[in-house]
């Protein structure tokens, strides 16, 4: 029988790789009777969804702003690069 410590590892691993059949079976049997690990599995799936939201262009949260001097530096590099392209 698998214990919770082992099952939490397998739950995570199953999100990144295909488990072996006996691992999958052991995990499923455990999940049938363990509400905590069932929640754990559901909450890891939620983490995945939350990450998608975090990473996408639609993320509204802009916690950090590009400092003005960095912006200026990038602007100058862009202009430089455009001038070079023209001269070619």
């Amino acid at each position: 029988m698998l214990n919770c410590r082992q099952v939490t590892r397998l739950v995570s691993q199953s999100m990144d790789a295909k488990l072996r059949w006996y691992q999958r079976l052991g995990m499923r049997i455990h999940l049938l009777y363990c509400v905590w690990c069932r929640r754990y599995a559901a909450q890891l799936r939620f983490l995945r969804r939350a990450s998608h939201h975090l990473g996408e262009e639609q993320a509204d949260a802009v916690p950090q702003r590009l400092p003005p001097e960095a912006k200026q530096r990038i602007r100058e590099r862009i202009q430089e690069s455009m001038r070079d392209a023209h001269q070619e």
Partner: protein, 218 residues
């Protein structure tokens, strides 16, 4: 470390940057900078933590975009296109970094699961009741909230840097395990331990700092 090498593709592989937006309009990199600079910077900073490096990555992104703008052909929005380029720059950065610094044991090693399970007795390796996963109220309603995104980012920032990088590469960029192992020069086992560790810690962090705090009364 300098990011100048990033432009050099060691294997001479072709430019992987996605094709640009369809709009036939003018190439306006300075407007890109004004409209998307902060978002790209925030994203980069979450991934590399070092402000100077994040700024360099954003700069590289705009310069690469400028070069690729000629072959506009894609269907994506301008921002999605720029994000795609930034992701490629991140991949280059990770590869470079993995060659320079080997992972230390504390960054990749023992899973942070120790405290959550009974160390002995009849319930050995079972959850300790007070640390076991609680019921979360309406988690999907949280997803769209700005405050939640902030709390989640905060939790990610609490992870060890390498662990966070690997986790975000997997979950935000959706890169396969095999590819991440190559980028970071780690073994699959190493990768699974790090991802397990990240998920265990993030789940707990959200439970304590978000779901536990903000329990709506029904």
């Amino acid at each position: 470390m300098s990011l100048d090498h990033i432009q050099v593709k060691p294997s001479g592989e072709p430019e992987r940057n996605p094709p640009g937006p369809e709009k036939k309009g003018k190439v306006e990199p300075e407007r890109w900078l004004d409209q998307h600079g902060d978002v790209l910077f925030s994203f980069a900073l979450l991934r590399v933590r070092d402000r100077a490096t994040a700024q360099d990555l954003v700069q590289e992104t705009f310069l690469a975009a400028l070069k690729a703008a000629g072959n506009f052909a894609g269907r994506s929005t301008e921002r999605a296109w720029l994000f795609g380029i930034l992701r490629n720059k991140l991949a280059d950065y990770y590869r470079l970094q993995s060659r320079e610094i080997a992972l230390t044991e504390s960054e990749s090693g023992s899973p942070e699961e120790e405290g959550f399970f009974h160390a002995g007795g009849p319930g050995k390796d079972g959850w300790i009741t007070r640390l076991a996963p609680q019921r979360w109220e309406a988690p999907d309603e949280s997803l769209v909230s700005k405050e939640f995104q902030g709390a989640f980012q905060e939790c990610v920032s609490g992870l060890p840097e390498k662990v966070a990088q690997v986790f975000l590469r997997r979950e935000i960029d959706g890169v396969t395990s095999e590819e991440i192992c190559k980028e970071f020069a780690i073994s699959p086992n190493n990768l699974w331990v790090m991802l397990h560790r990240a998920r265990m810690a993030l789940r707990r962090c959200l439970e304590v700092n978000w779901f536990g705090r903000k329990r709506p009364e029904k």
